[in-house]
Symmetry: D2
């Protein structure tokens, strides 16, 4: 019974069916009928006209967006625990050609508007210091917190105040939408977000994420950079089809609801052990090595996160029986 | 009846089956059981120990290899019609951080060893001129010619003579193996090739190419650069599984044989109209606009390639009835 | 008696005096009183409001301009013998972060408007091919030819027609102004030039070139990139002072006149031996190795340029006695 | 009476004389007789065979060294107040093609070996996190502290322990040598330093710094990158000559002694007002705005550094009368 990572989960049935259905002769790259539907499908979802690209990884989505927002000599404000800082092998520096990440603090990998103001205040406006050009947040965060629509909007205001473009890494955007109850529009462009990395893979997709541009002026350079970075797959139909399948009938929400529900069950069992509120599908749980071992002996797999801390992640296809069994095992510790 | 591009074809049944079979809980990135088999499977195929990576595009395979071979201040010798020069949006410059392509001439996008010697001879050995660090050829070429094992070996000697690393873009490697009758080993490392972009997608794959390193010293930097370029898919199992499925039972050779056979049938029909020998699955055919229109009116689709020239491409799943019909129609022009 | 290179010559008296005069306490970087005068001095010279930067090398001037004109995924049209292609160690690729040079042909390193049109015509307007963003010419060219005002204007029209920014490498701009008799304005912005690398060092300067922006929108990014490339000297006063000293009283023109005059004397002596017209301070002269040896035995130094070809370069301080002696020696061959 | 910045000071007489003496016909770039002497002169000074380059800015010296030490996908450990982080417009990211700076803490911009160990300990050894490749310290630091030979050696050990190359930014190296009494060798290669940016400009030079390589394997790539970055001046003689003139007769030490002596006099006057010990030529002094205004009214110029803090910098040519006057004025506050 694995609570390791949502990347370990399989693809959901709708995705598999869509790939099989897309397996026929068509046009190469993104000229096919599925790719051509993306803009429309996401424009409907977000209640505004957007430009949408399929990409194969969240890193590509994040860094193509940042490269369009930040010149090589600029910086992006982000949390010091952000995925773009911690887990992308320096990809933002690669795609932006040397742009910096300016690191902010904040509980649970969450950035407060004040932290943005302070970071900007520390930068002299001259050619000697690197000037910030963008702000990037993750929703839900790398520590399983969700920004509500008001919180995003406050950051959007801060971004606007300082002339920063605003990017959201939504590797777990679905979990945040489900948790906050906000609409996709409210959590993004209505709150000032210019580009969203919309994650599908952790949420039951196979090999496609989407990059959504609310600021469509970013599109032309991203289109070229995507090709230039080797991210224009020659048979793009399979990427587009799986995304459309997850939008269709709100599979993406259904999957996230299942993961969040499993997390809530575990969170209730963890009680005081929780180091942070559970607002998505990740739990950071205080636990001695001996306790962790007891759970492992009972057949549960998960990551050690720090001394006396473990991380549990739930997935779209989490077996609720296993969840209940784990919940009881935690209570029994 | 489409003779546009091998990228337009669907994925073959073995690939689709493999993806379905790989759709279960496992480890993320390339820790899964399929990814872990790649080195072994390709080492068997190439009769030597290799390091193999899945990637999602040929551009990524080509440019990761070149970036490991050529410093930012170096150049790569290649044909002026090479895919890396003509059709990758400058990706080699992106991945190498500004490396140049030094362009060579040659009939049918084929490079002769003399052309390498001459290009090297034109470069002063000083800090003012960009020094060549690698040679990249395409086999089969962008114009449907295949290098035989001896020809590759002669280029391998030239590369060694000048201290150049040697890369082969094998987007249609399978077609070249089938046409030349050489073994994969003879066409590559035995002839001095250090890295091969081994194409699967045009040959019936869905979304995975392989990068094969015969010079395993290239591996550590490529492993990092692959992640950094956003090419380490979080559910890599689907890429690895489709490659393994095409190696298994020589599906890759069977598919290429079918495409080459269809091409040979058309080549015979084209006769004197051929601008180049047909040594893979592409034909460049002299044809007036009026003649081309007549074929289109009869239901055949293909690209205009130049004034009075069209390109025909055959695929792994080419319907031989359609091929025969087209052959007759060409003869009847 | 050396006819090697104008880079071998010393700095002229006005420059040395200016450096001594500038040797006092002032403000660092470019806040000093000399640096602050540059915009005004060049605006006067060019009869329009310009933005001017001192830099320490022509390579820096050229590549900062190109980096502001061409995105990493774009290309710059230039002559295949251009200094930026042949002699800058790939600096354009470094400063533009991977931009390409698209190489054009033309006698004497000169580009014709038709060559621009043809090069543009060969590029498909899609994401697969690198799109040209700028045109760069050298005046006087690397082979000692000068573009007249009309010729520059015709290229300026071509640039505009294709949406290209227009850069002039003026390492020997002074020689071209003297030869053509055109005004600095006529040879540049009036003819559509957006940025000029204005050379001083070959023409009697010590360590400063100027980058002149007619399109002042290029200035903000160049200002940052100059610092970022390590080209914002902390005691900039010495660079600015030497440039001002050469503008003052038209020392720059006087120096170029001397060099061109010496070249004309030699050109007359060379007669039919000249491979190209002499329109600046360089001569490319047919000469057998035995003849060249005879001149060397007589005390003249110069470069072999090719088989049976030597290059002679004259400088701002060329001793006219030595020039006459060489002229006679050539006639006597 | 200005106590702003050592960059504001003029060049010292030995430098001016050397430039005048070097003003004659010679060979271009670094082929001249002065440039050719650099390796020998610095090898003598450092009591070991080194490779030495002139460059025009400390930023260029620092970043060429870092680019040879750290791949695009690596990071450099440095202090969060280091010049390369704070005041070079992101130049390390430009020269390394996207390498990161990993920021360490420490009083007075000084790094402790423990801080290196801790930073290394925080990095997972996988492809997801950026791996450190180099350590860069500044001696004297940006806050006027000097590392002694033992302190550098302890950091050199830490660097070796973790496989890091070791760079020293010596913009004020002379001041550190004078303050610590250590030999140049003891402060550098004997303590594990691989490359030193040896500052001359702040210390009475005009336009040349030196980059000294103790690890000579770094030389070939730096030689090319220097050209590629536009830092190979065509008349390099003036740079080399001024460096040689400052080494000759220990002018560089004499100048630094003068600056340090002036600083010591002021430090004594500041007493408890000092926020940090004075170990070079910079003082960070607690002072109310009213007090600072009183000094300014008395004719002294300096920077405000923070709330209730000013920075005073002394130079090689500091007028000791002015220093005494300022010392008295401070005492009188």
């Amino acid at each position: 019974m694995r609570f390791f990572s949502d990347n370990a989960a399989p693809a959901c049935p709708a995705v598999m069916d869509a790939i099989v259905a897309a397996n026929r002769l068509t046009t190469a790259y993104d000229g096919d009928e599925w790719s051509q539907q993306l803009d429309g499908a996401f424009s409907d979802l977000f209640e505004t006209e957007v430009k949408a690209f399929w990409v194969t990884t969240g890193t590509a989505a994040n860094c193509l967006a940042l490269a369009a927002m930040c010149p090589p000599y600029g910086s992006v404000l982000t949390h010091k625990m952000a995925h773009i800082e911690q887990d992308e092998a320096g990809a933002p520096g690669f795609f932006t050609h040397g742009g910096k990440l300016t690191l902010l603090d904040g509980e649970g990998a969450k950035i407060a508007p004040d932290a943005v103001d302070e970071a900007i205040g520390r930068v002299r406006k001259d050619v000697h210091q690197v000037q910030p050009h963008a702000l990037s947040i993750t929703n839900a965060t790398e520590y399983g917190l969700s920004y509500g629509a008001d919180e995003v909007a406050a950051l959007g205001d801060a971004a606007k105040r300082h002339g920063l473009a605003f990017h959201m890494d939504g590797a777990r955007f679905a979990n945040a939408v489900v948790h906050t109850g906000a609409s996709p529009a409210e959590l993004t462009w209505k709150a000032g977000v210019d580009a969203l990395s919309f994650g599908f893979i952790k949420n039951g997709g196979m090999s496609a994420e989407a990059l959504i541009l609310f600021d469509k002026q970013l599109a032309p350079s991203i289109e070229v950079m995507k090709k230039r970075a080797g991210h224009l797959s020659s048979k793009g139909r399979y990427a587009a089809a799986q995304i459309l399948a997850m939008l269709d009938g709100d599979v993406w929400l259904e999957n996230a609801r299942a993961a969040n529900r499993a997390a809530a069950t575990l969170a209730a069992a963890c009680g005081d052990r929780l180091n942070l509120p559970v607002e998505a599908n990740e739990m950071f749980v205080r636990m001695t090595p001996a306790e962790a071992q007891r759970l492992r002996d009972a057949g549960f797999d998960f990551y050690d996160w720090g001394p006396d801390e473990v991380r549990l992640v739930t997935c779209w296809d989490q077996d609720m029986d296993a969840v209940e069994t784990l919940a009881q095992a935690i209570r029994a510790l």
